[in-house]
């Protein structure tokens, strides 16, 4: 087994099999795992917010937003030899950690992160193969581009593989 590369919050990393990528404690954030099954190049983005265009000073960190983070991940994967038309994706996260009825729409940020991630994948023409999203708990996710397995760990639950 190769090395497991850590992806922080509002961060993205690429890897080549047998290496994998991991991100810890996804809450309302969404983890987008993409791989090219032929070149075995993979990557994981940990996005925090749906839309960079709705925000002032958004250029600080493009990995923070679904609409900018996912295209950047794809670009970096292409640099490592992945082909766009072979890429497939899986996503996890987007939980609603607290359900109290807020007035501000940032309350549903988890749900909006899921939607924005899916829309961005559609725009990039990358099929979404599987997802484990929503609900009300945090997830730690590990992605293996070798097999395409996406391992999802949550507190008090058995590991889910999608």
């Amino acid at each position: 087994m190769g090395e497991i590369i850590k992806v922080g919050m509002a961060d993205l990393k690429t890897c080549v099999a047998p290496d994998g990528v991991i991100t810890l404690g996804l809450g309302s954030c969404v983890g987008i795992a993409i791989r090219d099954p032929i070149s075995k190049v993979g990557g994981l983005a940990h996005i925090m917010l749906p839309d960079s265009t709705a925000i002032r000073n958004a250029q600080q960190n493009i990995a923070k937003f679904a609409d900018t983070g996912i295209p950047e991940l794809v670009k970096q994967m292409e640099k490592r030899g992945a082909k766009r038309d072979r890429m497939v994706a899986k996503i996890a996260g987007g939980a609603t950690m607290f359900k109290f009825a807020g007035t501000s729409d940032t309350m549903q940020v988890g749900e909006r992160n899921i939607q924005a991630s899916k829309q961005t994948l559609v725009k990039l023409n990358i099929p979404l193969l599987a997802e484990d999203t929503g609900k009300n708990y945090g997830r730690t996710v590990t992605f293996f581009p070798e097999t395409g397995e996406f391992h999802i760990k949550a507190v008090g639950k058995t590991i889910l593989i999608i």
């Binding site: 509002a10 809450g27 925090m48 960190n61 950690m97 501000s104 940020v109 507190v155």
Partner: protein
């Protein structure tokens, strides 16, 4: 507040938060020691402006299991507020409050006791903010969640993320027999920053 980023606001706001943190923590400790019926000591709280990444690390890693009390803030300002403690520390607090009857699984009883602790502690902070600014501020009923630090922090991080890449955190340590690290995050809505500062006579 125009195009002001959190970094720009933060210097002034930092001092304000520090003051609120000091007074609030004092009030909270008094309330807590009444509830626990024993002496509770505290260290001077620290106010930190941290990268989102660093916050998880400070609490012992993104996967550290934390108990979080989260509530809304209404009145002259709006926003939300979060209080976090490590699960072991929360367990210790609950054992004292429930006189050793607290279960290990955080059921209904434990959650509701934790809500009460959260009420007391966040209420103390809100009172100090309210008296410092002469604003009417009141909390909505708190919600309790037990999960990984990273997952819980994604909620305030998303708010702060709108303004920049930093989170303002008040870290306070208090102890009866054991040391308990409590973390406190005040999350005012964008407009409320300006209101808080304006009420203190600071014009940006």
């Amino acid at each position: 507040m125009g195009n002001l980023s959190l970094e720009q606001v933060s210097e002034v706001y930092y001092d304000v938060l520090k003051e609120i943190g000091n007074i609030g923590a004092g009030n909270a400790m008094t309330a807590l020691s009444q509830m626990l019926q024993c002496k509770v000591d505290m260290k001077v709280p620290q106010v930190k402006l941290l990268d989102i990444e660093e916050v998880g690390a400070l609490m012992g890693g993104e996967e550290q299991i934390m108990v979080a009390v989260y509530l809304g803030v209404e009145g002259d300002i709006t926003g939300s507020m979060m209080f976090l403690v490590e699960k072991e520390s929360a367990q210790h607090l609950l054992d004292k409050i429930m006189m050793g009857m607290a279960g290990k699984d955080f059921g209904e009883m434990e959650r509701s006791a934790m809500q009460e602790v959260g009420n007391i502690i966040t209420g103390a902070y809100l009172n100090s903010l309210s008296s410092l600014t002469n604003m009417t501020i009141y909390p909505t009923p708190p919600e309790v969640t037990i999960d990984m630090a990273g997952a819980i922090l994604s909620v305030p991080a998303a708010y702060f993320g709108i303004m920049g890449d930093k989170i303002l955190l008040i870290q306070s340590q208090f102890y009866d027999e054991v040391a308990i690290d409590g973390y406190f995050i005040l999350i005012p809505d964008l407009d409320s920053y300006a209101k808080i500062l304006a009420s203190l006579g600071i014009v940006i």
